[in-house]
């Protein structure tokens, strides 16, 4: 059984462990590091509940080996709150964008990447942007509103910052 030592920077903190080559990144995050906000919802790379940012890019962490992330930066839902909640987290609460909450961390991480690339998406672009994340509770309607809330809030603070 092949193992090796890896270090992955998760939410700004280096995490080192001796792991099997076949360990999935999602298990490294959840089981080795106790960061259980990232969830597993399927086994065929469809549901997106496991979405994290890898060097700023949204990926399905169930379909990446932990060794591939060696030396790189991962951001999970636990890393979204700084001094205050991220506008996406706020938006999901304000707009009732979650019910059972299981898909929510993945949705937020996907939406983060979406807004990074496209700060003012239309409804259609939001739906397209989250089409790799499944939700069974909300029907997506309020998730769209949550992302729009965050987009507006981020644009506001960008405008204020510019003045």
């Amino acid at each position: 059984m092949a193992t090796q030592s890896i270090t992955i920077n998760i939410n700004g903190e280096g995490r080192t462990a001796e792991i099997e080559d076949r360990l999935l990144l999602v298990h490294f995050i959840r089981d080795n590091n106790g960061l259980t906000g990232t969830h597993i919802g399927c086994d065929t790379t469809h549901c997106g509940a496991c979405t994290v940012l890898l060097d700023g890019t949204a990926v399905k962490s169930c379909t990446v080996f932990a060794v591939q992330a060696n030396g790189r930066e991962v951001t999970t839902i636990e890393g979204m709150e700084g001094d205050a909640l991220h506008p996406l987290q706020e938006g999901f609460m304000e707009e009732h964008g979650l019910q059972c909450g299981f898909c929510t961390p993945g949705m937020i991480m996907s939406s983060k990447h979406l807004l990074d690339k496209n700060p003012e998406p239309t409804e259609e672009e939001i739906r397209w942007g989250i089409s790799g994340n499944l939700c069974r509770c909300t029907g997506y309607q309020n998730i769209v509103k949550a992302v729009q809330y965050a987009s507006n809030k981020l644009q506001e603070s960008t405008r204020e910052g510019g003045e």
């Binding site: 999935l24 086994d43 379909t63 979406l114 790799g132």
Partner: protein, 295 residues
Amino acid sequence: MIPGSFDYHAPSSLDEAIKLLDDLGDDAKILAGGHSLIPMMKLRLVEPVHLVDINGLSDLNYIKEDGGFLCIGAMTRESTLETSELIASKYPILKDTSQVIADPLVRNLATVGGNLAHGDPANDHPATMVALDAEIVVHGPVGMLTGGKRTIFVDDFFVGPLTTALEENEILTEIKVPTPEGKFGAAYQKLERKVGDYAIAGVAAAIQFDGDTCSKAGIGLTNVGPTPVRASEAQDALVGTTVSQEDADKAGELAAAASQPVGDHRGSEEYKRAMVRILTSRAIMQAKERAEGGN
């Protein structure tokens, strides 16, 4: 959900990667985007003893025009193709294709090279590359290949389901698409049951015009055969015509006849064949519209 054990290798150069593949033989598989391979490993449909991760070969990630060709590095991510301005303006068929591959998250890691090298006729790029008469550049051991590389015409690349002309110790490194000249248009149309699914059927059409007349046509079909299918008779039928709706419909009939769909949960043989006919006609008309300056 849990893959079998394997040994992981992460070469940092192309030569290192080729050497590893040469040494390890058929016990090894290449890990590029991983979004075809890793799901299969998690279902234990494949259990490679060794994985050779080529994500470290960052100099295989590029899109550029050179010597009359669009050259796409094999490690170019689908999301890069999807958002490239060069692609959107000059090669929109490639954007059509990349944006319907799986979902946005998969596209952040999936590579163009991988989409071809996996050899799955259900993948979308193969048909598009057929329509565009692409060339596939492959690197291998210097002892085996002159200068350590060879170029394979797309029609010779796909051999059978999940089987390509790649040897065990070769790596697909670049895809070359002829840069269009004059009046040219190309489009890819995919029918899928929902976003993220493989195609019920997909059709890529590329049309070269000489004035108002079609001088050359390329038509490739997705997921209706053991490999991507070149609808040669349909292509021939367009040459010399002005590509009217009637011409496009006729080509659609011929493409449908050329397809070899298998009935499955995505559709019966009859339905898939009918969809090839419809999508071929639509792809041809969209290609024509683009050639005339439209969208």
